[in-house]
Each structure stands twice: as C-alpha cells, then as structure tokens.
C-alpha cells in the first residue's frame, strides 16, 4: 500500500472517505485498533470543519518514518480562515451549529497538533500520531 494519500473534501460523503483512508493507512503501518479509531476520529473532525467552514479543501495523509513510525494528517483549505485561533481551540466554541469539539478534540486524540490560519488565508491543520 502506498505510504501517502490525498482525499479531496468537497461534500460530507468525502468525510467518510477520508477517515476510512486514514484508518487503512494507520492499519497498514501497524497502529492498534484503538489508535486507528482515534486517527479516524481526528480526520473526521478536521474534514468536517473543511465542509462546514470552507466548503472545499483536502486531507493529505502520510506515513512519517522518524525514530518511530507515525501518521501525519494535513487538513488544508483556502476558506475564510480563523480570526481567533485560541478561541477556536476552546471546547464548546463554534460559529456553526455544532458541539465545538472538533478542533480541540482532534488535538486531544492526536500527539502533535499545529494550526496555521489567518482570515482570508485559509486554514491548515497538521496532526501526527506516533506508534507506541
């Protein structure tokens, strides 16, 4: 299996496709089934943010081979961007009608989390999980 994949996110059915692809990739490099679920969950939340806020974007999945093996998920869009990133990372904050747990939740279930966003410049969220 290829060690990277790109899923274009344009509709809510792409959310399912992205998380399934992520789970496959995580399984192929030996993540436990619990970790596969956590990775799929993070992808689901990040991909849904793309659909909800930016309408379209992409999810890039790759296996990272450092001292340990990990999986990297990059959720990228060229949508409106986030005015207050700190606020967006708080539990329960949402500007659409949702629970506001997507971004902070994705941060909790993964090991590394990085967000790059500015109004008018789109949003890129990069998360990684390492094999234990």
């Amino acid at each position: 299996m290829a060690s990277r994949a790109r899923v274009v996110i344009e509709s809510e059915s792409d959310i399912v496709a992205a998380r399934q692809k992520g789970r496959e990739l995580a399984a192929s490099c030996g993540f436990s089934s619990t970790d596969q679920t956590l990775i799929a969950l993070a992808i689901s939340e990040l991909a849904r943010n793309i659909v909800s806020y930016a309408t379209r974007g992409e999810v890039l999945l790759s296996i990272v081979d450092d001292a340990v093996t990990g999986i990297q998920v990059v959720a990228h869009d060229e949508g409106p961007g986030i005015a207050d990133v700190e606020l967006a990372l708080q539990d329960g904050y949402s500007t659409v009608k949702s629970l506001g747990l997507g971004l902070p939740g994705a941060r909790r279930v993964m090991d590394d989390f990085q967000i790059d966003s500015a109004p008018g410049k789109g949003t890129t969220v990069t998360v990684r999980k390492w094999k234990r």
């Binding site: 809510e12 059915s13 399912v16 789970r23 089934s33 949702s98 629970l99 994705a106």
Partner: protein
C-alpha cells in the same frame, strides 16, 4: 446509504450496517420521528455496532434522535458502541449523558419492555 428500520411490537429497531454520512444520520432522525407516530411506537433501538467511528456530529445526531423520540412519546436506547469507539468519544469529549445506552439489542429490548410495563401499570 439509508438505515433499515424494522418494527417489533411497539419498538422500532434501526440497525446501522455501514459507515454513515451526515445526511444518512439526519435522514434517520427524521424517519424515526415520523415512524414513531405512524407506527405508534413506544420504544426505539438504534444499533450502532457496525459504526467504527462516532464523531461529534454523530454524537449530536444520536442525542437528537433520542430527544426527538422522547418528545414523540418514545424511549430510545443506543446499543452496540464498540470499546474503541467509546474510548474515542471519551477522549474527544463526547458524551451521551442523557441518552439510554445498552450493551446489545437483547438488553435494550429488556429495558424497553420494563419501561413499557411500568407505564402500563401507571395507566391502570
């Protein structure tokens, strides 16, 4: 893909058999609210054994299903949340605090029958 909904006595059983899109979940919520009235159901079981992920949207929809059913006079039990799925929900910060859950279909049916019997006694 739509979720099949079966009727057993006055209980509706919705068995999720594949990954659900947001639209599928929304459709299920509407369909159950409608069927409770048309089929005069007193209980709803949503079997999510086949779901490999319950994210924030799915959790919100499951709560929506249970709350809507309650307002329509039916009790909802969500069954079959897998161990990893439950763990993921906890990590993400999701809860189904105000929704009845059970391990499997059998337990859910036993619970709903018990609720039905209590209601019956009150009604006498």
């Amino acid at each position: 893909m739509p979720v099949p909904v079966l009727k057993q006595g006055d209980i509706l059983i919705a068995s999720v058999v594949t990954a659900l899109t947001d639209k599928d979940l929304l459709h299920l919520k509407d369909e159950l609210a409608d069927k409770i009235g048309r089929m005069r159901a007193r209980g709803v079981v949503v079997d999510v054994t086949a779901l490999d992920v319950v994210d924030s949207y799915a959790a919100r929809m499951l709560r929506g299903i249970a709350h809507t059913a309650k307002l329509r006079g039916a009790e909802t039990v969500v069954v079959g949340i897998q161990p990893e799925v439950a763990f993921g929900m906890v990590e993400l910060g999701l809860s189904l605090d105000d929704v009845e859950t059970a391990l499997d279909l059998e337990e859910a049916l036993a619970h709903l029958r018990a609720v039905g019997a209590r209601r019956g006694r009150r009604g006498q």
